[in-house]
Amino acid sequence: MSELTDTVRPAIARGMRLQWEPAQEAHVLLYPEGMVKLNGSAGAILSRCDGVRTLADIVADLERAYDTSGLAEDVRAFVTMALEKRWLELRE
């Protein structure tokens, strides 16, 4: 997969659903007959992938929320992996 640009708009892929599960105290990603329990950072990234925000928006939002900087590469790597796993798809 080629390098993602800052302007792509990732969204939860069709047939998948992200939700917070109190019983597991975690975000989970639900898909046909399967589930992935997400750790805190994966949940924080995926819950911002709404097909409206760009990759740059998501990074900026996370850096604001966690009062830090330099997250761009980690977020890009995670989004790339999530696209390969078909958890995410890109909206133009």
Partner: protein, 411 residues
């Protein structure tokens, strides 16, 4: 049987953690993440490989809508989140849309497991509106329909119609085909058909030998040569459609040397409820002798999951015998399948004889060897296939599974 969510979520990468890694409850047991409601044993089909209990016609009446809804609420409160609706054929239930709507409102991810028979445009529209998330369409390729199926005539037309409806309603196209010795040589045609239907996921699931499939094991078990040919064909197909279609090939465990981690361990993540309200730690558990399965009409889901003897019996390791008890792999496969241990050896606490460390392993290798001989002579077996139907279900003698269709041998 399909994998539990926990099995299928494996390999999710460093950023994630898969179930069952759920934090311990006061009971030290995680929630029943995967709830399967077998809404009815009624089915328009008569598949020879059905895992439903052979005595289904003698079980109690189906639960009414209100009880299914109560089960949904109680299980969701415990943390159940993946919901399977199956049967029998779940479309036989006229209240399916009501059940789906309730489940959607509660936050379940809802999987309908269906043959597609009865899935009209009106019903799929209503199910979509009610919040159904996913449809798994199975091929009912029983031998009665084998020719029809392979010649792509009536069955294909039905499937094509249903597949078009599924696509039109923006569902991912997930096809499930049960393989056995009578159709496994046609896996190439089956995959081509799946491609023409627009499938995105194809699950080629070799028959597992429970229920009706156990009765017909001698006729359904493929030879190793058949299996290897089918895997090679599947691999070529995968390479051709890479990126478009994902194909799972579930090897029959009789050909393995280690058992499957059945249900991720009984009482770990899976809770099944039969049409009459019987709660089960696996789809086939009602065959296990001495296991008094609770019923949702008498006991609430919390007490069933955490407190009942049936759901606690095979938790942990205390029940295990050698060679499992001292085996380092017991934490990985939990001793394999309890139902298979019972069917083949007569004792549900034995090591699953699929494991080559089991003193009963030859029960599996002998069955495979018989399949090899049958393959060599290329003649139909002298045994007659038993179709899943109501009349036969009444006639089958329950409680003696190891003598029906199998060759149980005393150790």
């Amino acid at each position: 049987m399909s994998g539990t969510p926990a099995e299928k979520a494996g390999g999710a990468g460093p950023q994630t953690r898969t179930s069952p890694g759920v934090g311990p409850t006061p009971h030290g047991v995680g929630p029943p993440l995967w709830l399967l409601l077998e809404l009815t044993y009624r089915c328009p089909l008569h598949c020879v490989f059905c895992y439903n209990p052979t005595e289904f016609a003698r079980t109690g009446p189906e639960l009414p809508t209100a009880d299914w809804i109560r089960v949904l609420r109680e299980a969701r409160a415990l943390g159940a989140v993946q919901l399977g609706l199956s049967g029998g054929e779940p479309l036989e239930r006229e209240d399916l849309e009501t059940i789906v709507a309730e489940a959607h409102g509660l936050g379940y991810y809802i999987n309908l497991i269906t043959s597609g028979v009865g899935l009209t445009a009106a019903r799929i529209g209503a199910l979509k509106t009610a919040g159904l998330d996913h449809i798994q369409l199975s091929f009912q390729d029983s031998t009665r329909e084998l020719n029809d199926f392979l010649s792509s005539t009536r069955t294909f037309e039905l499937k094509a119609k249903v597949a078009a409806l599924i696509r039109a309603h923006d569902y991912p196209m997930v096809l499930n085909v049960v393989l056995h010795r009578l159709n496994i040589d046609h896996v190439g045609e089956i995959l081509d058909m799946a491609e023409r239907l627009g499938a995105q996921y194809v699950e080629l699931a070799n028959t597992q030998y429970y229920g009706w499939a156990w009765l017909n094991r001698q006729q359904l078990l493929p030879s190793r040569a058949q299996l290897e040919r089918a895997e090679a064909v599947t691999q070529r197909f995968r390479e051709r459609v890479a990126g478009k279609i994902t194909v799972y090939f579930v090897v029959p465990d009789y050909f393995e040397r280690r058992p499957k981690a059945c249900m991720g361990g009984l009482g770990s993540v899976f809770l099944g409820v039969a049409p009459d309200g019987t709660a089960m730690p696996c789809h086939a558990a009602r065959m296990l002798p001495g296991l008094e399965l609770p019923n949702v009409l008498a006991t609430d889901i919390r007490a069933i999951w955490y407190d009942s003897e049936a759901f606690n019996r095979f938790r942990g390791e205390a029940w295990m015998k050698e060679p499992c008890r001292s085996c380092p792999e017991r934490v990985k496969d939990f001793g394999g399948c309890r139902c298979q241990a019972y069917l083949l050896t007569g004792d549900a606490t034995n090591t699953d004889p699929v494991c080559d460390l089991s003193p009963h392993h030859r029960l599996v290798t002998d069955a495979v060897a018989r399949a090899e001989r049958a393959d060599a002579v290329a003649a139909p077996s002298e045994h007659v296939l038993v179709f899943r139907d109501h009349r036969t279900s009444i006639a089958v003698v329950p409680g003696e599974p190891a003598r029906v269709g199998g060759q149980r041998e005393d150790p």
